[in-house]
Symmetry: none
Subunit: 209 residues, 4 copies
DNA sequence: AATGAATGAGGATTCATTCAT
DNA sequence: AATGAATGAATCCTCATTCAT
């Protein structure tokens, strides 16, 4: 529209592009999570994102590609956390506790939980996405915990144990919290925050040397 | 056919009827679990069950009713287990451990895990089914564990604690095992049996007075 | 069952047969009329007739044949009326009036109106039935009236006129009464009895020499 | 295409839209009339209208709504005729005659007859449509004739009589002509044009003071 | 880049008809 | 003769995707 200044125009467009794509991904995640992938109409995604049906196809090849893009969006966060842990120095027990609390919180209160539920619900239909999720999210996540536990054992802070199985064990209830929250949002029979806190306490205490 | 003995005839018919419904439910659970509720065609359910499309409608009102029937099928098992626990006498620590192991096993190796995954994946689209599941399966399940923990505390076998949160905590990884197994059956990065055993050990030890 | 006396058995069976068939035809006419041929399920016809679905096929080849049988059932009445009129002696004006009143009544209060509506509604889909209806019901009906009018003209009781067109004209509102009653049974904006009486009066008076 | 004149572009689009809907309604009326509502496949309607199956659903909610839209399309004509009659001045006998002839013609040669037959055949299955038809078409139609007759009586042009019953009586054979034509189009035993002319003559003469 | 009308493949559901009992 | 479980063809309707504007 404003044809006088052309440089800002491109800049804005670029940002818009990114916003547009993110907007659509956010809308799709919300609806896929609420209604399931198959039962969500792209028309509803478009409306939720404030764009038209056709616009989605300017940013994503098709419905599955949109799903894939949502999952890819989680990876940077996993990578960052992994780096952060690797750079950590000092006692690992507090780190482990805070990581449990933090992941528990994210599962319940951020899009992370929605993504986990989505992959759990639909992954079997999309082997490529499931494989990607395994390689770039699930395994790195488990490895991050395993690394911490191994560090603790090496430092005699934790008693010797099967760190791989324990890494799985620490992560499972957190994943389930995310699923629970997103699958049964009105279910009031479980205080997930309290459970996460107790999990951190209970789990780490059981590890101490 | 066998005109000599008439009793079996009626018996077989009765059994067939029952089998037909169970056959269809089993086939539907398998496919709903594999492909999701929406993506599963009733025609495929029929083929899997060895009947024709129309036959499904002789036993179930519609696709959703079939889903509901699958979930209702789990309830007797929950009830039985609850009764069994109520009648238990003696030390509760071994009971709790064996219960964790058993539930972990069932989640991974029986239809129970498939049901849990199914409700997690689709429940939000079917509030009535989710509500039924909550009332007749989830809450009774948590309560069963809470009952045991409370017994243990009363008997000074366990240290005092928030038995409600712990009941949730003990059950979450087991549920997640079932979901994991059914959502990502080819995922080899986690030995769920070992994790369940470790969970039983780790969790009960942490409770002991 | 009673195998001792065989003669009554056959007799009863014969009567039953006839009853059964009539029962089914009556039920079908009621439902075809209410819901239309296509929208009526043979299962509902069976229930209405107090028999099972399969039984219908013992008496009729298929759904269309049942329709045909219903229409065929009207013919004797038409034939009887035709004979009655042919045998009539004396002044025709009262005969014509009473015939109009009678036909008007039957259209509104007996199955005759339902049959007329049914043929009007569905005949185009079943050319064979429509043809049969034309030959054995519609034309004889018109002819009956034409015969009376011609008699009246010959006897100088009526003024000369186009008896064929008038025969059609006298019959059309009566047919429409039947259709109206059966198509819009709750429609209260028209007193069909009064209209028939007025029709008889108005029409015959207009004919008098 | 024509980039010089921009106005026609919008106009054409608007007209196309309107045409599309009318096209579909026309095609549906034709087929509903020929085969009945239930027996008509929307796929055939689409083909007849030169559009695809899905397109119908852009203009109508479902099959029943399409039926309803067809009936609604008749209302303007009824309204116009009513207004025309209200504004008439002078002798009413010729008006009444011409109205009978005109309505008779329309019943036999325009979509009006098809609509009447359709409501007669299917109305009982669609109470909402029947009710609408009663309120906005049938009663106004009768009222229009009643108004004329009452005017004639007031002007001493017609003899005193039950104008309401006579209004019904005048309309019934015309409706039946429309049904007859559309239900049994190949039936040659009745010259409906001649019958309508005779009806006009016969009926109005019988009314004259 | 953005729109939304149009398409048509796909699936849930119904129901006439068959047939073993 | 009577039943009703089983079948599968038929049809309404949905929605991912395309494309002209």
């Amino acid at each position: 529209m404003s044809e006088i200044v052309s440089l800002p125009k491109a800049a804005i467009t670029e940002k818009d592009r990114s916003d547009r794509s993110a907007q659509i991904r956010r809308a799709a995640l919300k609806l896929f999570n609420e209604k399931g992938f198959s039962s969500t109409r792209l028309e509803d995604v478009a409306e939720e994102a404030g764009v038209s049906k056709g616009t989605i196809y300017l940013y994503f090849e098709n419905k599955e590609d949109l799903f894939f893009a949502i999952i890819r969006g989680v990876v940077p966060e996993v990578r960052n956390k992994q780096r952060e842990v690797a750079e950590h120095e000092g006692s690992v027990a507090p780190l482990l506790k805070s990581l449990i609390i933090e992941l528990g919180y994210k599962m319940v209160h951020t899009e992370l939980g929605a993504c986990v539920k989505l992959v759990a619900a639909e992954g079997r239909n999309f082997p490529e996405i499931a494989e990607y999720h395994k390689t770039h999210i699930a395994l790195p996540g488990i490895t991050t915990f395993k690394t911490i536990i191994d560090k603790g054992i090496a430092a005699k802070e934790f008693r010797p144990c099967d760190s791989e199985a324990l890494a799985s064990l620490v992560i499972l209830p957190l994943l389930m919290s995310g699923i629970w929250k997103n699958a049964l949002p009105t279910f009031s029979g479980m205080d997930l925050n309290k459970v996460a806190a107790m999990h951190a306490e209970h789990f780490v205490n059981g590890l101490l040397a």
